[in-house]
């Protein structure tokens, strides 16, 4: 199985395990979508702003002495976007409803992050 296929399989599993999730994306740290099930018209923008949010989150953490960043979250009235670094080169972005099961999303996201790291290795 190619890396692309492995990532697509992982995204499908994540969506199956947590039906609340409304979009998953793996992008490079410079904002290029690698694998995603976001609608195509949203994909490029979410990859770019997701990577930007992750980069900015890291700088905020450094400047505010917060230690290593485990998650960057943008919460709106209609939903939230969780962004995770997957090693130095990748980013995992997950969109979920604002009132969804955040605990479960985070649990699955943490496992997915480790998997993405291995795949992109």
């Amino acid at each position: 199985m190619t890396k692309q296929e492995q990532l697509e399989k992982l995204i499908k599993e994540l969506r199956t395990n947590v039906p609340d999730i409304t979009g998953v994306m793996v992008a490079s740290s410079d904002g290029l979508s690698i694998a995603s099930d976001f609608p195509e018209e949203e994909g490029a923008r979410i990859a770019a702003v997701g990577a930007a949010a992750s980069g900015l989150g890291n700088r905020i953490a450094q400047n505010a002495a917060l230690g290593a960043v485990s998650e960057t979250m943008v919460k709106g009235t209609d939903g939230l976007l969780l962004i995770y670094m997957t090693g130095d080169e990748g980013v995992l972005a997950i969109r979920a409803p604002a009132r969804g099961n955040l605990g479960l999303v985070r649990l699955e996201a943490s496992a997915a992050c480790e998997e993405v790291k291995k795949i992109l290795g």
Partner: protein, 190 residues
């Protein structure tokens, strides 16, 4: 030569870039060009101080120091050599311009003024053929120096944004790419 300077100069077509022949010509005529120095300095800063936006760049009483800076640059240019240090210095100016809030429109405008001033003087004081060669050399110098200053200004902005906000130049490029088509469409329709 440092990486940023080399990268910028590599963008300029070789037939436009400042050449050995250009350097030799400027140095050959340096005595005459140095006679034009006072007029160049005075005209340059008169232009800047007679315009509100450019005058605002300077602090009270700063003009003599800035005039000396331009004088030093002019003499260093005419004395050569056009080595790595010289071009890296022009790149450094872009960084200084960020700090001093000297934008690229100001640089382009004032380099146009320098080229026009030196061109007029050349046509007044040299036979036409030699004057045209000198004008061409000045234009090539203008191409190199403005390229280094304005690109270094932009590239160093990107570096500063990356350092401050964690947004690499590649990522900024990606962010721009997500918006540029809409911006072009709007600009075209307006």
């Amino acid at each position: 030569m440092n990486e940023i300077t080399r990268q910028i100069l590599d963008q300029i077509p070789s037939n436009v870039k400042f050449s050995e022949e250009d350097a030799e010509l400027l140095i050959k005529h340096k005595d005459k060009l140095l006679e034009w120095e006072d007029g160049l300095i005075e005209g340059f800063y008169d232009s800047l101080f007679n315009h509100d936006t450019t005058r605002a760049v300077f602090e009270e009483g700063e003009r003599p120091a800035r005039e000396q800076t331009l004088r030093d640059w002019y003499r260093r240019t005419l004395n050569g050599p056009f080595d790595d240090n010289y071009w890296e210095w022009q790149t450094y100016v872009g960084l200084v311009h960020i700090k001093r809030k000297v934008n690229n429109a100001m640089v382009a405008g004032m380099w146009g003024w320098i080229a026009t001033y030196l061109g007029r003087k050349a046509l007044e004081e040299f036979p036409q053929e030699e004057a045209l060669k000198l004008i061409s050399a000045v234009h090539s110098l203008q191409a190199n120096v403005t390229a280094l200053i304005v690109e270094s200004y932009l590239k160093n902005m990107f570096v500063a944004i990356d350092k401050a906000a964690g947004l690499s130049e590649a990522l900024l490029g990606r962010l721009v790419a997500t918006e540029i088509d809409d911006m072009l469409a709007k600009a075209k329709s307006s």
